[in-house]
């Protein structure tokens, strides 16, 4: 395998370590799971995470992961993406994967910036964020991925922090164990292109929720607790929402080419 090429101090290192820990917790060896990667700094992990994996395209992890899971339900299938890939380019896939509820886990490295393309505004960048693509500051509101996922019907919605490995490992483990579509949005400081949302900035604001919000509405309310538009709210981490819902899984495919019967209607 190759050596990690992330910048020294990058939040991705923490996510990488937590993911390896989670695989150990789950006793998943390199061949028992398929990790479907996006394109971006986050997904370059593909080259140094020794798991069977499929490096797909920018924004396309979820449909590829869905196809794999549908055909081989025995595999644990994870998608790993950045906020750009998953909330921008692949936003439509996220909505549909959430309502569809295959047994998949989505891990999003949310650094609120496009890192691999060297520093443009992402869907989760705060309003006013100055970047190479928004020199005067971003006009848009930041997308709230947790609120979106809850509203769209994700059956497991959580937020972790790249600077808290035990907590993040636990979230990842629970997400994979969850039967249904699970998303873990991970706050990931980008040391090169986002000098606002730094490790320190997060540490000052983050707090762990003591218990899961009681229902979907309460979960949404919690999800909306995020610094936005000049406000300086605290940032809850943990599991926001979890429910048992029927999982989409067609029966194992068996090839039955009975041409006589299938063609009878054309006679």
């Amino acid at each position: 395998m190759l050596e990690a090429t992330w910048c020294p101090g990058c939040g991705n290192f923490g996510i990488w370590q937590a993911l390896k820990n989670a695989f150990v917790n789950l006793s998943l060896s390199a061949k028992d799971a398929v990790v479907v990667f996006d394109i971006g700094c986050n997904s370059n992990m593909f080259n140094w995470l020794k798991m069977t994996s499929f490096e797909s395209l920018h924004g396309r992890t979820l449909p590829v992961a869905s196809g794999i899971k549908i055909i081989n339900p025995k595999l644990a299938v994870l998608a790993v993406a950045g906020d750009g890939g998953c909330y921008g380019e692949g936003g439509n896939h996220l909505l549909h994967a959430a309502k569809h509820n295959l047994d998949l886990t989505l891990l999003v490295h949310n650094n609120q910036v496009y890192a691999l393309t060297t520093g443009q505004t992402s869907p989760t960048s705060a309003r006013g964020f100055k970047s190479k693509s928004t020199p005067a500051g971003s006009f848009d509101l930041a997308l709230n991925p947790l609120a979106v996922a809850i509203a769209a019907g994700a059956s497991f919605v959580a937020r972790g922090f790249a600077g808290d490995l035990p907590h993040l490992t636990d979230l990842m483990t629970q997400a994979v164990k969850h039967k249904g579509f699970a998303i873990v949005d991970i706050l990931q400081p980008c040391v090169s292109f986002n000098n606002v949302n730094t490790f320190d900035w997060f540490r000052q604001r983050i707090y762990k929720m003591e218990q899961k919000p009681a229902n979907k509405l309460a979960a949404l309310e919690k999800a909306l607790e995020f610094p936005q538009n000049g406000t300086d709210a605290k940032i809850p981490i943990g599991i926001f929402f979890q429910e048992e819902r029927e999982v989409f899984q067609p029966e194992t495919v068996e090839f039955k080419p009975e041409i006589e019967r299938l063609s009878a209607e054309f006679l």
Binding site: V36, F54, S56, R60, G67, I70, F266, L267
Partner: protein, 576 residues
Amino acid sequence: MEKSITWKIGGPAGFGIMVSGTILAKAFARAGLYLASTTEYPSLIRGGHNTYIIRASAEEIFSLIFSVDLLVALNQETIILHKDELSQGAGLIYDSEDPEIGKDLLPEANCHLFPVPLVKLATQDGGAKLMMNNVALGSSWAVMNLPFEILAGVVADVFNKKGEEIIKENLQAAKAGFEYIKKNFPHDFDYQLHEGQAPKRLVLSGNEAIGLGAIMAGLGFAALYPMTPINGLLQFLASKSEEAGFVFKQPEDEIAGINMAIGASYAGARSLVATSGGGFSLMTEAYSMAAMTETPLVVVMGIRPGPSSGLPTWTGQGDLKFVLGASPGDFTRIVLTPGDPQECFELTQVAFNLADRYQTPVILLVDKFLCESLGTIEKAKIATERIAIDRGKLLDLSAADYKRYQITEDGISPRILPGKIFFVTDSYEHDEMGLATEDASMIKKMVEKRGRKFSLLEKEVPEPQLFGDQDAEITLVGWGSTKGAAREAIGRLKTQHVGLKINYLHLNWINPFPKEAVTKILSKAKKIISCEGNATGQMAGFLREQTGVEIKKQILKYDGRAFFPEDIIEGVKKYA
């Protein structure tokens, strides 16, 4: 006198035009007759004028012709729009009690009028007005002098799922129409058909033939987002998935569909997607990923005229260059172009084998006319011409040092399924392990590895089909659904000009292109004329690129309509 009959029915949408056409086509096939047929309709759900046209003959025919011998008008608009298409001595069935159909509408000379109280007969035993199409079918059948039991058998089968009562009502209406003609217009028609000797055949659309072929090829996963003209395939596959044991999924968009299919294929299922130009535009990104990750995939690309949303329900062949160049990157796009349902059935199976053997996506390029027109497949051939499933180098390895992209002599690396051992699959350029690389020598090796498999494939491209005289003065060249009209045209030209040597070169492998065979065939012809359903001669351009042969004489049609033999005959005469 023509030995074939062309029957046409026209009326407002919602009056059972489609089902009438299907019933009559099957009835012709059961009567041992050869047939060609299609439907035309505007892109509307309600309202608008729909037609169905079928040509039947005791002798083998390959396509429709322009003139109509028996027209069924379910409303006055049909008469207005189509009376000029009637042949000498043609018949016209219309509702004698429709107040809108005045004398002034009726064709004047050389036409047999069959005024039948269609609505009255449909409703006389408490049936619905909508049954008038069945009355018309029964009347048509009687005019053509074919036995009622054959028609009745098809009606019973088509409505089988709807229950006894519905079958009875439909049969009653058809019988009423049949008897009305027998009683009021005995022996009144020039075009009498007799049961023929054609072998037993399935009557199905190109879409359905592709679906059957895919199922026979061991389809495991299909994701189709609706778009004309592949909706027939979508509907067929959706209805057969349980029975045939594959997964059908309607994705949120074409992008999701093709990516899911790639995931499913990677996990081991033979996978298919289908769309038209707009949808394929969205798919091209992932199409390229299938090439780079070396994942097998079959893409059915149904052409409708463009650009943009173009003419959703009409036909054309304007997307050839698009698929040949679709997607970023330098790789061979395998493009197969069947010309009739039989070829759809066969080439779909071939496509799955090619996809697996060469670990690459394959495009089956069809046009709306082929997708939605009913044609036939010989019943005996669906079993005998079944192509053995060849999954290529899909192995059950457990070697610890497995390399997904191992550099091999033939360019094909052994493939295994996830879950067996650790390996990685990469959409970036990669090394043998599958890890991203930017190393110049490795990049070169990988490009060459993928190139070698396409060189290998080039060697197995079959010779194209040549219909007509071996040595001809005039060689017509075409692809896709032009096949039928061109075959019909060369037959007619030979009857009209005794001694004329003419043939038709049908291209159903566009890429890799059968360079040598085509060059050899064309070098013998004095006059080469290409026939294409586009305005720019895309195939002729590609053919020149592949062979150096320049075809200057081109018959191009781009009005949304398929080729009729008459178009080709006229074109050939222009160049004579």
